[in-house]
Amino acid sequence: MREGYDHVASLDAEHELAIEDPSGLEYKGSQPGSGRRMTLNMGPQHPSTHGVLRVVLELDGETILSARPEIGYLHTGIEKQCEAKKYQQVVPLTDRVDYLANLNNNLCYALAVEKLLGLEIPEMAQWMRVLLCELTRVASHLIWLGTHALDIGAMTVYFYCFREREEILKIFEMFSGQRMMTSYIRPGGLALEPPRGWHKAITRVVERLQSGVDEYQELLAGNPIWVNRTKGVGMLPVDIMIDLGVTGPMLRAAGVNIDARKDSPHSSYDKFQFDVPTRTANDVYARFEVRMEEMRQSIRMVRQALDGMPSGPWHADAPHILLPDREKMKTQMEALIYHFKIVTEGYRVPAGSVYQVVESPRGELGYYVVSDGTANPHRVFMRTPSFGNLQSLGAMLEGVLIADSIAVMGSMDFVLGDVDR
């Protein structure tokens, strides 16, 4: 550190600041077309990578010649831990994979185990799952929108989005006692009975969300800075995107109608009316439009779920799989025995393998669960959407200006916990 702050004053007076570099090396800069290339490390700690992602950029002037994403900084060995846990103990781990879409991960794992067990879930639990998963989608898209807009320079949207997201997280807290790591959807149904007053609380939130989405649309869609920064940026031919494993809103913004909720229906999704928004422009703006429309569709589905929620039990009649009611444990011997058996031994799952897919806010989320007939899963592979989407980053950044790389990365909406697992 140099003595005093005199050089600051000299900056103000528009004097050239001559910094003597003790190493004697002089930075000559990199002029476009000069053939001199510069390698720039973006990350692992960079605010717009939203996690620990390192991208090695090779630059010619301000143009990116090649980009190489390096991942693994957040690898926590969740898949290995799953093998050491019992089936019911894996649920909290699935929360931590994609920490912005916990309930979708809970759902995918629960569906996979239920398929192996051959378990039927009552309709009310299925509808409740849909309702909560769609709220999760809105919450996740709000984070994406807020941070994406913040990266490009629109700060107000960030605060608005987080304000509305907090309302959704309060709903999750009401249901499960946790804002983020809910573990609310479990094999066999739900973790707890839906709380008293949930209908009223969600109805209130949905009203706010509806007006909120319109507000963000108004703030951004007509904003010339936003449009200039996002239109015609981050394009990649659609066949290359499919080849690289891109799914979700990114692929839908390229004109491919792919959505696991429609293509492989589960959890009563076929009983809901919703559209799968697609665009053909395939740029950052198209991805913005697709996700905004998805939020509207999710709100529409939440409304349908509120109106048509069937009555009935909230879990399957499977006492050997779901933990019994606390009150029953105090009065009924069987409930106490089942509780003891589940906690100490777990439950055995018939041998077999299953690949279950749900549509997470980021794309195709798949759990490949292999059972060897014991109470521990033999293998849990998480096909996470962020991993596939991020693989296209290198191709997408080729020839892009370095300032646009921020917009491109924001539009991909990856979660590094989802990439590295």
Partner: protein, 173 residues
């Protein structure tokens, strides 16, 4: 799991019973005779076992037949059974959104061909399978570790790799 034991590989006209009516399997058998060595009816769909030497031609044929999406590649370790590894390929067609699951059995020290020439997206998935299981993919453009540090010893998802007690883990766990 409905395992077919009466089936002998090398007789191309007889397919395992569980996939006898599966049009994709029939087409694969016609295009690449003898490639299907076994099949298992998993809970939701068949898992078709492919001869490890034939995986690239089979995948190339399936991609032409409409399975343009590779959803993922992963491994399963069945140690101490031999051959210990299964490499799983999850495919999807974009026309009718149907899925297909292929598997290749491979042992320790054996190599299987990379399918990166068929799908570019196989790159990271094969790197991950190599990193976590130690399955080596031949002709892969960049077979390096992806999750673990480059100087890591061992392959964590192998069944003989401890969950706790690794030299870098906390003591008394």
């Amino acid at each position: 799991m409905n395992r077919v034991s009466a089936y002998h590989p090398g007789s191309p006209s007889v397919l395992p019973e569980v996939i006898a009516g599966n049009s994709d399997a029939l087409a694969v058998d016609q295009q690449v005779p003898g490639a299907i060595v076994d099949a298992v009816m998993a809970v939701d769909e068949p898992q078709i076992y492919i001869d490890s030497a034939q995986i690239v031609p089979v995948c190339r044929h399936l991609k032409e037949a409409g399975f343009v999406r590779l959803a993922g590649i992963t491994g399963v370790d069945w140690w101490p059974r031999s051959p210990r590894f299964e490499v799983i390929y999850l495919l999807q067609s974009l026309h009718d959104k149907r899925r297909l699951r292929l598997a290749v059995r491979t042992g320790e020290g054996q190599e299987i061909d990379s399918v990166t020439s068929v799908w570019r997206g196989a790159n990271w998935y094969e790197r991950e399978t190599f990193d976590l299981f130690g399955v080596v993919f031949r002709k892969h453009p960049n077979l390096e570790r992806i999750m673990m540090p480059a100087d890591w010893e061992g392959h964590p998802l192998r069944k003989d790799y401890p969950v706790h007690g690794h030299k870098y883990s906390y003591r008394d766990e």
